[in-house]
């Protein structure tokens, strides 16, 4: 049994490495004309033989970071309400609602936003209403359940003993959160943010439906642009022998490396010294 599990674990690790190798081999025809670095920095202009993915990388990063920036404070407030401030029955009800939100398919978010949010963004910002800001708002909503559940978990796992101590010493609820909850919960909070970032970066449908899909490097959040995932979905119909098609594997490598970086970040945080131990006066 032990060997079965060992082989299962080894097989999973091997599969992950194999995916990277396959992506690299399949993108070789494109990468042989330069390096991954060149592909990263070039614009996308297949008519003139330029298959760079720079505009898509910029769009993916900007929409994901904006989504996380919008979602994090709101989700943190929501998690504090669920764990600290809200009446017990409302807490349970809210937590169930958040879990339900997490199970809604992304296409439902996208489709609803097309009818409810896009016209309002068009009125407010001009243009078609399909831009990075619109996509980021819905991505923020999409990643909210992940963030809230992570935040709630890390806050509830923080030591009740420290919370009681601060309360008994005359601490207000806010002081309990600041001095007893946050110093212990921060790695979980950062993990949640990183995973939320990964989810926002990896989502395809919302950016495909709401970001506008223009192949241009965006100058502002009101610009229509295309993310890496939307680009893969749009170009997948190209001739499989073409360099255009091969560029998709370069996109996949970028997404793969980004995800790997996030996982390494999460691992590093989990193994790092807790902030509480760095608070010596």
């Amino acid at each position: 049994m032990k060997y079965l599990f060992q082989w299962a674990a080894f097989g999973s690790a091997l599969l992950t490495a194999a995916i990277f190798v396959i992506l690299y081999l399949l993108s070789l025809p494109l990468l042989s004309q330069g390096t991954l670095w060149t592909v990263l920095w070039q614009p996308w202009d297949p008519q003139h033989g330029s298959f760079g993915i720079y505009p898509m990388v910029v769009t993916s990063l900007s929409s994901a970071f904006v989504a996380v920036a919008i979602s994090t404070p709101l989700c943190f407030g929501c998690a504090l309400f669920i764990t600290q401030y809200g009446p017990r029955n409302i807490r349970r009800w809210m937590l169930n609602l958040v879990r339900l939100m997490g199970s809604i398919p992304t296409v439902v978010y996208g489709f609803t936003a097309l009818f409810l949010l896009v016209p309002r963004m068009r009125e407010a910002l001009g243009g078609s209403g399909l831009n990075i800001a619109t996509a980021s708002l819905i991505l923020a909503l999409l990643i909210a359940p992940t963030l809230i559940l992570f935040f709630v978990d890390s806050i509830t796992q923080s030591s009740q003993r420290d919370c009681h101590t601060v309360t008994a010493l005359g601490g207000t609820r806010a002081q309990v959160i600041r001095h007893a909850v946050l110093p212990q919960a921060w790695p979980g909070l950062v993990n949640g943010i990183l995973l939320g970032l990964g989810r926002a970066m990896g989502d395809t449908l919302i950016s495909l439906m709401l970001a506008g899909n223009s192949v241009q490097t965006p100058d502002a959040l009101t610009d229509s642009a295309r993310t890496l995932t939307a680009h893969i979905a749009l170009v997948i119909a190209a001739d499989v022998a073409s360099l255009e098609f091969r560029s998709l594997f370069a996109c996949a490598i970028v997404l793969y490396l980004f995800s790997a970086l996030l996982v390494i970040g999460v691992r590093w945080i989990n193994h790092s010294q807790p902030l509480s131990q760095r608070r010596m006066l």
Partner: protein, 235 residues
């Protein structure tokens, strides 16, 4: 309430949900004394202690009926009043828990922490207060060269004295001690007992204890709780 009394509980009933934990408690605590509350596990001793600093109010399942009065600066404070300022009350009624509970910060930061909660910043004056209170609990000589070290590196007995110092820095009127020596070795327990006797002129103490000998040694009065009822009166 008699002016000689520090705390008076009358017909106090404590419910957790629908379950009665304390029934018809009538208890008087006198200033400058050590009042011990004994009883078997689950008799409601620690629950009773939470009435004195209103810690029960943080649990939404807990309900208390009856009268609980505390004399503070000559004024009578109703501990069960819904509008009572909990933070102010808890700064006047300190608490030391069963297990030493230093916060994950330095020795100095731990002792100064209640002052920080009250809005004071670290200053030479606060450092002086920290030194005074550490001297009072006879811990200064042991820690003066490592004030910036993690408080959790101290021994159990030292940690408990540190927790007492932390409670004393606010000069509380009442100190609640929830079995403060139960997790300590005999020598460390002796230190804590001696300290409690020394503190009698400074504050009123309410001690929860399982140890009848300890109660005999240091308590001025004792009460016995059984199944949520106070079954013996002070001698």
């Amino acid at each position: 309430m008699n002016p000689r009394e520090k705390i008076r509980l009358s017909n106090l009933n404590f419910f957790y949900g629908k379950k009665p934990i304390l029934r018809d408690i009538c208890l008087t605590v006198y200033p400058g004394e050590i009042t011990a509350i004994c009883g078997p596990s689950g008799s409601g001793k620690s629950t009773l202690l939470t009435v004195f600093n209103a810690l029960w109010k943080d649990d939404e399942h807990a309900r208390v009926h009856g009268t609980a009065c505390l004399s503070l600066d000559g004024q009578h404070c109703n501990l069960l009043h819904p509008e009572i300022t909990l933070e102010t009350l808890r700064r006047r009624v300190g608490m030391v828990f069963q297990t030493p509970n230093p916060l994950p910060m330095s020795i100095q930061a731990n002792v100064a922490f209640p002052l920080k909660l009250a809005g004071e910043k670290m200053s030479p004056q606060v450092a002086g207060q920290v030194e005074n209170v550490l001297r009072r609990v006879h811990l200064w000589e042991e820690v003066k060269d490592r004030l910036h070290h993690d408080a959790r590196q101290l021994s159990g007995g030292q940690q408990q004295r540190l927790c007492m110092a932390r409670s004393l820095i606010l000069e509380p009127d009442v100190l609640l001690l929830d079995e403060p020596t139960s997790s300590l070795d005999p020598e460390a327990s002796q230190h804590i007992e001696a300290l409690m006797v020394e503190l009698k002129p400074l504050c009123t103490q309410i001690l929860i204890s399982h140890d009848p000998l300890q109660v005999q040694r240091i308590a001025d009065r004792h009460h016995f709780l059984h199944q949520g009822r106070l079954v013996t009166q002070p001698h």
